[in-house]
């Protein structure tokens, strides 16, 4: 009961409500704009959160996350271009339905299923995050090391694209985290005499570079692309018949999305693809999929929004991000002096339940904004790239500079922008780099501390049941794509 009251706290604070309203609106705008999204937006707004208290800052980031994930559906339905990667599966049926003159119906279903998926995942978060946090009390350094390895192998296995390329990208991300002074011995690594590098490479320059700047370069190759925009009169709530047809799909996809979200991967993107294919598998009319099936929209949208709450579970309970956006939220927590993990649940329940409540309210808010404002948000896509992207560049540069007030960070951002462009061009996902970078210190730190505990004996890892379990799961995660291919 106390926890329920704590969850309602944002409703009684005018400041938090304002932050939520702003975050939801901003998230929707980011979601609608192809190429931008909650990850880039969260990274860009991170410096501004320094003017807020920790709870308001995280509420802002989480509301951007929830609304941004939904916002991608608007563009997917109306211009056949996913606003965010998580909305890619929504295009498959959303746009054909819109072409049949039913854009309002398609967006209505996307809005309802996103909201249900989002709320479902918050319920999962409220119940499972504390349980996972309690379990984490059993974890020592070796268990955390094994867990981080499991997370990275899962990321490689179920993430977008080739598992081997994902592993390379994750290893590269971890390698970046080793730049600077070694935290145990203070010995410089990969600094090459550059003083600024001894503190390491910041997370924000890498994220903004890999997401925003690389996207700017991608947009420079797509200037002649013409979008066919479908007109939208108004968003329509689904009819009784639509509800009858889709309620099972929405619930199933919500469950799938929440589960996939918990695993460290591209959260919503993978969840929506699995949610969509499962909706097709269970459908009585699978032949309608790809031609404007309402179940297809429901399956994809419920799953991608359900992944938001799921991804927050390991982020808050273990300090291991479930997606690229939660990696940004994790950075926000660290910047504001909040240490995620089991102690957070014991010491700051008001903070945690405030976040849970804010996510719940953000889901309701984007339902209202989406339902009444989709037509206005859709207009944002009319801003031409030749004006939009130079502006995004300006904000990216200033935002990146502002965190450490270092011009080197801006150059690092540009470097990662170019690198990210080529990575994507050759089929390497950039998300594992982000997750690898944020988990790097945890992986190396726990490995080295474990070896201290074990007196340098590597075999001692295999004497601990939880570690062995995670290693077996990691092995299964690695061979899973091979088995799938053989099938």
């Amino acid at each position: 009961m106390d926890n329920l009251l704590l969850m309602m706290a944002p409703l009684f604070s005018s400041k938090l409500l304002l932050v939520l309203l702003f975050g939801t609106l901003f998230g929707l705008i980011l979601g609608v704009l192809p190429g931008l999204g909650p990850t880039t937006g969260g990274a860009l707004i991170l410096p501004f959160t320094m003017t807020l208290d920790p709870l308001s800052a995280i509420v802002l980031l989480t509301s951007i996350y929830c609304a941004g994930t939904y916002g991608g559906a608007i563009t997917a339905v109306l211009i056949n271009t996913p606003g965010t990667p998580a909305a890619a599966a929504t295009c498959l049926d959303g746009y054909p339905l819109a072409q049949k003159g039913e854009a309002g119906r398609a967006l209505g279903m996307a809005t309802v299923s996103s909201t249900v998926g989002g709320i479902f995942s918050v319920v999962i978060l409220v119940f499972f995050a504390p349980i996972l946090a309690k379990l984490a009390y059993e974890f020592g350094q070796p268990e955390y090391f094994a867990l981080a390895i499991f997370g990275l192998t899962m990321l490689a296995s179920i993430g977008e694209g080739s598992p081997i390329k994902n592993l390379i990208a994750a290893a590269f991300g971890i390698l970046i985290s080793t730049i600077g002074k070694d935290f145990m011995t203070s010995i410089d690594r990969f600094t090459y005499g550059i003083n600024e590098l001894s503190v390491g490479i910041g997370f924000i320059p890498v994220v903004v570079g890999l997401f925003a700047i690389s996207e700017m370069l991608t947009q420079s190759t797509l200037l002649h692309q013409v979008f066919k925009r479908v007109a939208l009169k108004a968003v329509k709530l689904p009819s009784k018949e639509d509800y009858k047809k889709t309620w099972k799909t929405i619930l199933r996809s919500s469950g799938i999305g929440s589960f996939i979200g918990v695993l460290p991967a591209e959260g919503g993107t993978v969840a929506s693809l699995i949610g969509y294919s499962e909706a097709k598998r269970f459908s009585k009319n699978p032949e309608e999929f790809g031609k404007g099936s309402i179940e297809g929209i429901a399956g994809a949208e419920a799953a991608n929004n359900a992944a938001t709450g799921g991804a927050m579970v390991p982020t808050l309970a273990l300090g291991i991000p479930g997606s690229a956006t939660t990696a940004v939220i994790l950075t926000g927590l660290i910047i504001h002096g909040v240490r995620p993990g089991p102690d957070l649940f014991r010491e700051q329940p008001d903070f945690l339940y405030g976040i849970f409540g804010a996510m719940l309210i953000a889901n309701i808010l984007f339902f209202i904004f989406g339902f009444f404002g989709a037509k206005i948000f859709a207009r944002i896509t009319l801003v031409p790239n030749k004006i939009l992207w130079p502006m995004i560049f300006t904000v990216s540069v200033c935002g990146t500079y502002s965190l450490s007030q270092s011009i080197l960070d801006v150059w690092i951002m540009l470097f990662f922008g170019v690198l990210g462009f080529f990575m994507r061009r050759f089929g390497f996902s950039v998300v594992p780099v982000i997750i690898g970078l944020i988990l790097g210190e945890l992986v190396e730190g726990t490995l080295r501390q474990s070896l201290v505990i074990f007196d340098g004996n590597w075999l001692m890892f295999f004497t601990r049941p939880i570690v062995v379990t995670f290693f077996i799961l990691s092995f299964i995660a690695l061979i899973f794509p091979l088995l799938k291919k053989k099938k």
Binding site: D182, I187, S220, I387, F393, C398, G427
Partner: protein, 168 residues
């Protein structure tokens, strides 16, 4: 489908050193090898202070893993060649060039001048010829962002010929 097949065939017919997979493989291997060699120059801690492993061991392990996995994807590309990517358009190279201008101007003249030059350059090359919009992306918007960051976050931007005018 046919297009993809044709693209794959086109890639297959190229000499190996022109193929994307070889270029990617070479770049990763060369960079990783250089980094791996540089790890041998890291300081070491005496055994009495060394708790667990030496500071260079972990990055060495990562680099060996990257080299091994890259070799594996290159080997696999013989069985399943990558599809050939489209040629990059002129605008891409111009945008890339603007980044170089940005670095040079921000280092030598002024941070905000660099932002303005890049914004106008990119916007113009991407097809914006209307003066007001170039003014908007090149001067009005950067000025708003500058003042916003300066006032809300209390940031001090690096000195330069234009920034100094604002500060003094």
């Amino acid at each position: 489908m046919n297009n993809v097949r044709n693209k794959k065939r086109a890639n297959k017919s190229l000499p190996f050193f022109f193929k994307d997979e070889f270029k990617v493989f070479s770049v990763i291997i060369i960079v990783s090898t250089i980094l791996l060699i540089s790890t041998f120059t890291f300081d070491t801690v005496p055994p009495i202070l060394n708790r667990g492993i030496q500071p260079a061991t972990f990055p060495k392990g990562l680099l060996v893993l990257i080299i091994a996995l890259t070799s594996l994807i290159y080997y696999l590309s013989f069985k399943k060649p990558w599809k050939k990517e489209k040629e990059l358009p002129k605008n891409f190279f111009l945008t890339l060039l603007s980044f170089i201008f940005f670095i040079i101007i921000s280092k030598t003249l002024d941070f905000f001048l660099a932002i303005s030059v890049l914004s106008v350059f990119v916007s113009y090359n991407w097809g914006e010829k209307r003066f007001f919009y170039l003014l908007l992306v090149g001067i009005i918007f950067p000025f708003i962002v500058f003042v916003f960051f300066e006032m809300i976050l209390g940031l001090r931007f690096p000195p330069g010929i234009i920034t100094n005018l604002y500060y003094y």
